[in-house]
């Protein structure tokens, strides 16, 4: 249950669940104000790193990772 997991992406752009291989669904974002400003997901407009949450419909696993392209 790591933050910022490295997982595969499907051809349709969804993250692949590392437990069961099902395409996950990105359904939430949250700012992380404790993040280092040098983090790739740090967004200076927000003043925080933007975290994404992806739920697996197959096994309910949740992936948390920094948003890609968060830096403005």
């Amino acid at each position: 249950m790591n933050k910022d997991e490295q997982v595969k992406t499907s051809a349709s752009g969804h993250l692949i669940c590392p437990r069961c291989g099902t395409e996950t669904n990105r359904h939430a974002e949250k700012p992380d104000y404790s993040a280092d400003p040098s983090a790739p997901s740090f967004d200076p407009v927000l003043g925080a790193a933007l975290m994404e949450f992806h739920t697996c419909p197959g096994c309910r696993y949740v992936i948390e990772r920094g948003a890609r392209g968060g830096r403005a």
Partner: protein, 194 residues
């Protein structure tokens, strides 16, 4: 306009969290009663989780001290029922500590609160105090609450509730929680934020 129930191929998992470790706690009777009542609903699985049983160091901070088994349970859950006694109008310290150990496991899941108090207000003040905390954890609260007043005389020596009206009162609470859990599970699994 006609409506129909959303199909649920998987049962909803709605654990009940007993939020106090104190000796002599009447909230244990409440938690057992609530667990038994929610278990009657078709398509719902439940489990009583006692914060007293969680190996939770109090010197760590938030997710640094998460218990893997508890986190897995939270990840599996579709909704939560929190049984919270009111201590000096506030939330029990250990319950707050336990809740703080997870985040992603809660996001966009439903939560209902059963307040417990020695007096006649049914834990309304602890419920109100918990709402902003639960929101920040990503949980979605419901309109209905469970309010257990005068808890010192509400249960018999065998732990059975003495006022049968509580079962009827909780029906609305359970129905809304199940509705919210169903809708949010559909959203988590199918509605994409882009």
């Amino acid at each position: 306009m006609s409506t129909q129930a959303a199909p649920r191929t998987k049962p909803l998992f709605i654990p009940v969290i007993l939020g106090t470790p104190r000796k002599g706690r009447y909230s244990e009777h409440v938690a057992k009663f609530v667990t038994g009542e929610i278990a009657r609903y078709p398509g719902v699985e439940t489990q009583l989780v006692d914060v007293r049983d969680l190996p939770m160091p109090v010197t760590g901070a938030g997710e640094d001290v998460k218990d893997p088994a508890f986190s897995e349970l939270c990840m599996r859950a579709d909704a939560f029922i929190l049984v919270a006694p009111e201590y000096n109008h506030g939330i029990p310290g250990l319950l707050k500590h336990v809740l703080d150990t997870n985040l992603k496991e809660y996001i966009h899941k439903a939560v209902g609160i059963c307040g417990v108090s020695a007096g006649g207000f049914g834990g309304t003040r602890v419920i109100q105090n918990m709402l902003p905390i639960l929101r920040e954890l990503g949980l979605v609260t419901i309109f209905w609450d469970g309010n257990f007043s005068n808890v010192g005389s509400l249960f018999g020596e065998d732990g059975k509730i003495l006022d049968a009206a509580y079962g009827r009162r909780l029906e609305k609470f359970f129905k809304e929680l199940i509705w919210m859990a169903t809708v949010l599970r559909y959203g988590r699994e199918n509605v994409t934020m882009e």
